[in-house]
Symmetry: C2
Subunit: 310 residues, 2 copies
């Protein structure tokens, strides 16, 4: 969407401000002939929107310098943490950017009655090394933590266009423990791959296993991302969630997150990753001595190449 809703440049419009009307286009036009068309589009739009923002709020020199220091501080934490603390990624999440990019990448609107399961952001905690486990097994490798509530999770993975099950689909799940930490972050309490696992759906597309009811947690309460949250008077909480990634060679994979419907942070998730079809109902379970709760969740995948309505 151009700033004026028309042709995407400032050059052709009469600007609604008192500043040099040719400046922004001059910056854009300084790009040389060897810029790729995509770089020209993306960087040209970046300059235009950055300048429009700056003129709209009449950004002061002090505010701009504060932003320069902020960007340097973001990268400094990355460097000083030996690349383990990616504040630039977290800042994007706080501004809704990762969720927006995810929507743009995965938006599929069905031509039929059933939409595919909504995607949500991957986040920084997925691991390519999660082990395959047997159907009916558990991802609770290190025993049930204090306050942990074991849940039997199950469902069917189906083709959204036909409703037919997808045998052999892979259901990859990862979640934080009841202390709000993933295995990476919590080596004192968790062994690698605790609360992670992959399950292969059976001939009827079914999966089932044991996991934990998830626990809400806070983003770090220091550093540039915390400074930004403070400026915005926002809380640092993510609602409780389970991450899943469901894949099959003939279908478009779905990476998403599931949220208990009674979580207090659902409507103000600090990374804006909640969507209505991802809010789920954990029910009391009786007659299973391994679990106290049950979660049924059925997944719908779009076939590869399916475009739907644009």
């Amino acid at each position: 969407m151009a700033s004026n809703g028309t042709n995407g440049t400032n050059g052709a419009e009469k600007p609604a401000h008192r500043f040099d009307p040719n400046f922004t286009q001059a910056v854009i036009d300084n790009m040389g002939p060897k810029t790729t068309p995509r770089n020209r589009q993306v960087l040209g739009a970046l300059v235009r929107h950055l300048h429009d923002f700056t003129r709209e709020v009449e950004l002061t020199i002090d505010e701009w310098m504060a932003a320069v220091h902020f960007v340097n501080a973001v990268g400094r934490i990355y460097s000083e943490s030996k690349q383990t603390r990616n504040e630039a990624h977290r800042i994007c999440d706080i501004l809704g950017l990762e969720s927006l990019v995810d929507e743009i990448a995965h938006k599929v609107i069905s031509e039929g009655d059933i939409d595919p399961t909504s995607s949500s952001i991957l986040g920084p905690f997925w691991s390519p090394n999660a082990p395959f486990r047997e159907l009916g097994g558990t991802i609770i490798q290190d025993g049930v933590p204090p306050k942990g509530r074991v849940t039997k999770m199950h469902g069917v993975i189906r083709d959204m266009t036909t409703g037919k099950p997808i045998p052999g689909a892979v259901f990859d799940i990862w979640q934080a423990s009841a202390n709000g930490k993933y295995d990476f972050q919590d080596p004192e309490n968790q062994t690698p791959n605790n609360l992670r696992g992959k399950f292969r759906a059976d001939e009827e597309g079914r999966y089932w296993f044991y996991c934990l009811h998830p626990t809400a947690y806070s983003l770090p309460q220091d550093g540039p991302s915390w400074d930004l949250l403070t400026l915005m008077d926002r809380h640092p909480m993510r609602p409780a969630h389970i991450h899943i990634m469901v894949t099959h060679e003939n279908f478009q994979g779905c990476t998403t997150q599931l949220y208990p419907n009674d979580d207090p942070w659902l409507t103000t998730d600090t990374v804006f990753a909640v969507k209505p079809d991802l809010v789920v109902d954990f029910k009391p379970l009786e007659g299973d001595d391994k679990a106290v709760l049950e979660l049924e969740y059925n997944v719908f995948l779009a076939p590869k190449g399916y475009k739907g309505k644009l």
Copy 2:
């Protein structure tokens, strides 16, 4: 300027895209009641323009991740150079942001015939420690470098509203040497405050001293700013320039840069700091055994409190 030219929110408009029309407003509305009005305005506009940009170009996940790595790399150089190499500042310059912020801060349009001297960006090389020197003295402290052309610079500092001279105005000048480096950057060849100095105008508002004809130079040809220039197929050159900062307690100070009118990089300055009234004519000088060139430059300051036409 709002994305639709009206009320500055996405909530009230029908979006010209296929994505969730409520998402951006939800992110903005997550700010709490204790955000200051200015932070709400600036950060709200930042989110809106960032999202509009992202939807307009349909930014891909790979492109977004490249941007995350880029921001981390910017701060890493700052950290690893022990805060001496401010790439975040340089990236802003390359995108025209510092020049735009400078224009916003200093825009004064005269109600009379004479505009004040245009401002330009301060850049990273001004020093608060430059010494006062005598009128008629020189800032070439370490001798004339190879290829250096000594210039007698002179002019009158006047009140733009009355045309009267401003006795006692301070004319602060700094410039790179003929190798394109400032004293900070070149300790092997230059002592501190070489090619820097302050001069106090005489009773008729006049200043005069000796300096060098300036030399064009390149921004660093490595690091994130160089990567960005390469993506945009742009050269890294700044046109030759002299920095000046002219101040007096009763007038609005003017920080600016002066450019020789025969410089090949004038129209494509990589930081976009050239304005027409800052382009000057160095003339051959005869009869002065200290200099081969002459530069006359008269400065016009606006009185403190003068607003002009908005």
